[in-house]
Amino acid sequence: MRFRAKIVDIACIQHFTRVVSTISKLCKTCTFRLTPGKIYFILSEQVANGGVSMWCELPQANFFDQFQMEGVSAEDNEIYLELVPDNMSRALKSAQAAKLVKIKLTKKHAACLTFDIELPSLTNQSRTVVHDVPVNVIARRLWGEYQEPAMPQFDVSVYLPALKTIKTVVEKMKNLSNFLVLSANRNGDMTLKVETDLAEVTTLFRELEIPSWSREEESGVSQSDRDTDEMAEARVDIRKFSQFLAGQQVNPDRIICNIVDGNILHFFVLHEDLSLQYFIPTVAI
């Protein structure tokens, strides 16, 4: 098992830092999967811990100038590591003005993902910072737990309004209640609602765009005969939702929100260099 990658371009370094920082805000530990073409950050929480899951994939060529890897075997040319994304994010914080970042899998005091960062200095010799992010190698037999989640058969799919707007609204609502009901219909109406014993606060967004899904993606049968005015709703832990909104460091082009009525919220963050999916299960009253 071998892995070695290099980023030289400062824009790529910063972009990668933002991706990692976003991931670190979404989960405490995650699985870092390496394949020859792509890298992934995967979270699949146990239902007991909230059941949130995340799937983030980045084509390595968008970030790395050099990317060499050798998986467990020729037919399973992949590496699965468990790590704390916050450590990775801290390591990359050193690299904000770096000339070069090398990432490699090393065996030091333990298995580590080593970030070897070369910084400019006042002299000819560079300053170097080395961060060893401890990792656990995930055995081949456990890989099955980290498969890409299937696209849910959603009832309603809308583009979220501007991130900043919705973030402010949710931040305020967070002070009122622990749960938020997000509902939307196929006309592009979306409401965010919190309830307390004394008050019910609803924010209504209108005329949101509806993403056009191709036929095979819209595999669900139920949705095609759904009334366009009928709201699909999901009651979720408001902290998870707010965490997702607040954690976005990558300036996504759009965020699609898919609702499976009474079951799950699925966010699809669209960006030219990466895709991020985030699933928040509903909570019964």
Binding site: N87, S121, R127, T128, H131, D132, V133, P134
Partner: protein, 484 residues
């Protein structure tokens, strides 16, 4: 004491207080002939900070202890006090505001009940802060920069950039130096699984430093929080920071020089661990052999010889007697070593500032400082040459020391436990002496920050002593024989 700080200097003064406030809870204020000293020490006594603002810093500076007692006005008797850091911080809270509005600041300290800060602001507004204080003795760390084999000077900005690579929550940082480069690492404790922790290491070429002299390759670990406090000041002042250090377990001194109006020194304890002590042993001898420290070298040998005699006789004698002699032997050496700062290597480069013990004594009152009072006792009982004893017990790893004048406080303190404690302390002193003089790696393993200051350290060492004595005594004899 009365002094007036001009408006242009108020920011520097305030920054100094901010920086000290990140180290200790109390601010020790002492008007000296050559300037106003602001000092602090942290609760663990592992870090000490001192600013001395020269008379040039002020519009007006008068260090006298107040006109009423002219006859008492020798240098020793200037009025010193300590105040709560919190209260003085309140005066200098918003530096940007102070800088804009304050025309001058008057500080008055006399026999009155309050230390008075008066801020003369624009529009004839005067803000007066009357702070309660406690009378105290001088707080003074024991250190000497001049004999340290390793000295580095770096721009504050460089060090700030280095420190930024480490997590804010990180407590201790390890500095590893060699003649080519400097490496800084986060110090990882063995407590939670070290293999689960992010390890960070940064290396800098020697050329990045303004001044770089490494006589002894070494590795030392010290607190990062205090370093950040120092850097905050140094960066604001735009001054280069000098580091003077020896080996692990010996204090590291950070100093800001170059401004005639003030200078600042910070002394931090470093972690002593067995491995690196052994490593440092030879290097320390190397250092001694280097030109320029020959005087220290010779006096060291002398001392070693005396020490050997000492050791030989020791076995058959009572510890108390031993201790007396021990100190008696020391005394001449001290003077032969040439006064204050040019002590032989073995005294740990610790500059002796013979300042008051009062503070320690005051702490002796707290039961936590029991060991300190033992030391005091010992000083009184063991010998009248009190100079040697606290230094002995303090010097190898204890950079801070509060004076060594004979005290007569607590005459009846621990009369029953006295012999016992005396015993322990003297043993401890031996070890330490041996450690420094004969350079045997007698540092006990895994005792974090043995370089604590006075009370705490002697306490902890006293408790360690019985366990170690047998072992180290053996080594000590062998080694001294070798040297003979």
């Amino acid at each position: 004491m009365k002094c007036i700080i001009p408006g242009t200097n108020i920011k520097v003064f305030g920054k100094a207080i901010h920086s000290l406030s990140k180290i200790g809870e109390e601010l020790y204020l002492e008007p000296l002939e050559h300037g106003l000293a602001l000092r602090t020490v942290n609760a663990a006594r592992s870090a000490y900070g001192c600013f001395i603002f020269a008379p040039e810093f002020f519009y007006h500076y008068d260090d006298s202890s107040g006109g009423t007692e002219g006859e008492m006005e020798d240098v020793e008797e200037t009025f010193k006090c300590k105040i709560q850091m919190k209260s003085v911080l309140a005066v200098f809270r918003s530096l940007s505001t102070l800088e804009r509005t304050v025309d001058r600041c008057k500080i008055t300290l006399d026999e009155g009940p309050r230390l008075v800060f008066q801020l003369y602001c624009k529009h004839s507004i005067t803000k007066t802060y009357n702070l309660t204080f406690q009378e105290c003795e001088t707080l003074q760390a024991v250190f000497s920069k001049d004999l340290c084999p390793n000295a580095i000077t770096a721009q504050a900005k460089l060090l700030t950039e280095v420190v930024q690579n480490f997590q804010l929550s990180l407590e201790e940082i390890t500095l590893i130096v060699s003649p080519e480069k400097v490496i800084l690492k986060n110090y990882v404790e063995s407590e939670p699984d070290p293999s689960k922790v992010l390890h960070t290491q940064m290396s800098l070429a020697a050329e990045e430093f303004d001044y770089f002299q490494i006589g002894v390759d070494t590795e030392l670990t010290f607190c990062l929080k205090e370093l950040r406090a120092i850097l905050a000041f140094a960066e604001a002042a735009g001054m280069p920071l000098s580091l003077h250090f020896e080996t692990s377990g010996k204090p590291i001194v950070f100093s800001l020089e170059g401004d005639p109006a003030f200078d600042a020194n910070f002394v931090m304890a470093t972690l002593a661990d067995l491995g690196s002590t052994q490593g440092s042993q030879s290097s320390q001898q190397q250092a001694i052999n280097r030109p320029g420290t020959s005087m220290a070298g010779t006096s060291k040998t002398k001392r070693t010889v005396k020490k050997t005699q000492q050791q030989g006789s020791k076995r058959n004698e009572s510890d108390i007697m031993e201790n007396r002699r021990f100190q008696a032997n020391r005394q001449p050496n001290r003077s032969c070593a040439g006064g204050n700062s040019f002590l032989p290597m073995d005294s740990g480069f610790d500059d002796m500032m013979n300042d008051g013990m009062d503070d320690v004594i005051a702490m002796g009152a707290n039961e936590m400082e029991a060991a300190m009072s033992q030391e005091t006792e010992q000083q009184r009982n063991g010998t009248s040459r009190h100079e040697a004893s606290p230094e002995r017990s303090a010097s190898p790893e204890i950079p801070l020391e509060l004076g060594k004048r004979p005290r007569t406080h607590y005459p009846d303190e621990k009369p029953t436990s006295h012999d016992q404690s005396h015993d322990d302390v003297s043993m401890v002193m031996e070890e330490e002496g041996e450690e420094e003089e004969v350079l045997v790696p007698g540092t006990p393993p895994s005792k974090r920050f043995r370089s604590m200051f006075f009370g705490i350290s002697s306490q902890s060492q006293a408790t360690q002593a019985p366990a170690e004595t047998a072992d180290t005594a053996e080594v000590l004899c062998e080694d001294t024989d070798d040297e003979d």
